[in-house]
């Protein structure tokens, strides 16, 4: 019996009888179907295939979950959550009302980063971030430009803030806050935030605020203007591995 070069599908010999043609075609078609399925075992959206240890037979790999990356495990491809170096968008929240609480923060990252874009207070106000809604003492050092680099202590409450008011009606203010080791149960931990904004005196200003927080393990962040309400802005919370 003649066979094809690559997949050894049976084909009729030159001397076979014409009356056996239907059976020969059926045999060949069945072989093609079996081989094709073995090479393409996908069943579901996002599936990919890789070569198995068996010749001409691929293994199906179902799609991973959001944030996973393709890696190698046991000599074959596999989807896995990055163990380091990855930055995952955890949540996106439109700022509204007198305060916004981000609760049930996952405890599976090494660091949190909070990006606040286009913060717009209803009236001139500072921007506050209170881990766990805390109000206990914390020590801050703030460096402002313009306005000198002298440190300003404003550590009588357990939240991070700047001392110069953001201007109301200005939707170009941005803030980035970083919380390393946020899952630590240690009572005191370091954090910092930087910001660029138009202050209520009409000047463009940048500030960096370094904090020694009194908050323990962080499971929530309460964001608020020091007075008034949010007229706009979006908070993006990232987890960093």
């Amino acid at each position: 019996m003649a066979t094809t070069t690559n997949y050894a599908w049976e084909t009729p010999d030159d001397t076979d009888l014409v009356k056996d043609g239907a059976a020969a075609i059926r045999t060949l078609g069945s072989s093609v179907d079996t081989t094709t399925k073995a090479l393409n075992p996908s069943t579901t959206l996002g599936d990919i295939e890789y070569r198995s240890s068996t010749a001409n037979t691929n293994t199906r790999l179902g799609i991973g979950t959001t944030g996973q990356v393709l890696t190698v495990s046991g000599g074959v491809p596999a989807w896995a959550t990055p163990s380091s170096g990855g930055m995952t968008l955890i949540s996106t929240t439109t700022l509204s009302g007198s305060s916004v609480t981000l609760s049930s923060i996952p405890q599976t990252y090494n660091e949190l980063q909070l990006w606040v874009v286009n913060f717009d207070p209803s009236t001139g106000a500072q921007f506050r971030i209170a881990p766990n809604g805390g109000t206990t003492a914390t020590d801050n050092v703030e460096v402002n430009y313009p306005g000198g680099g002298s440190p300003a202590l404003n550590g009588y409450q357990g939240y991070m803030r700047n001392t110069n008011n953001f201007n109301a009606g200005t939707a170009t203010n941005s803030i980035i806050a970083v919380f390393p080791a946020y899952t630590s149960t240690a009572a005191r931990k370091s954090a910092y935030m930087t910001m660029g904004f138009l202050d209520s005196d009409g000047g463009n200003r940048t500030a960096a605020i370094f904090n020694k927080l009194e908050c323990g393990q962080m499971s929530s962040l309460v964001l608020s203007p020091s007075t008034g309400t949010f007229d706009g802005g979006t908070a993006y919370l990232y987890g960093v591995k």
Partner: protein
């Protein structure tokens, strides 16, 4: 009507907008009073500085003169 607050449960992605509770509102009012006092103190300090500078100017002095005197 008490101020509204927003709570975003990240685990369920549920967003709730509600009024402050009585306890939250009491804390909020106390905090707002502290903010107002701080802002007033800041304004008072600026006004006092400007007044002092005016007095110096009337005497024909500047802050640089005071620095030269070691003050």
């Amino acid at each position: 009507m008490k101020p509204m607050i927003r709570i975003h449960d990240i685990e369920t992605n549920e967003v709730i907008d509600r009024e402050m509770t009585d306890a939250e509102f009491a804390d909020y009012e106390a905090d707002q009073a502290a903010v107002a006092a701080e802002q007033q103190a800041k304004a008072d300090a600026i006004a006092a500085k400007e007044l002092a500078q005016e007095k110096l100017a009337k005497l024909g002095l500047t802050t640089d003169d005071l620095k030269a005197l070691g003050l």
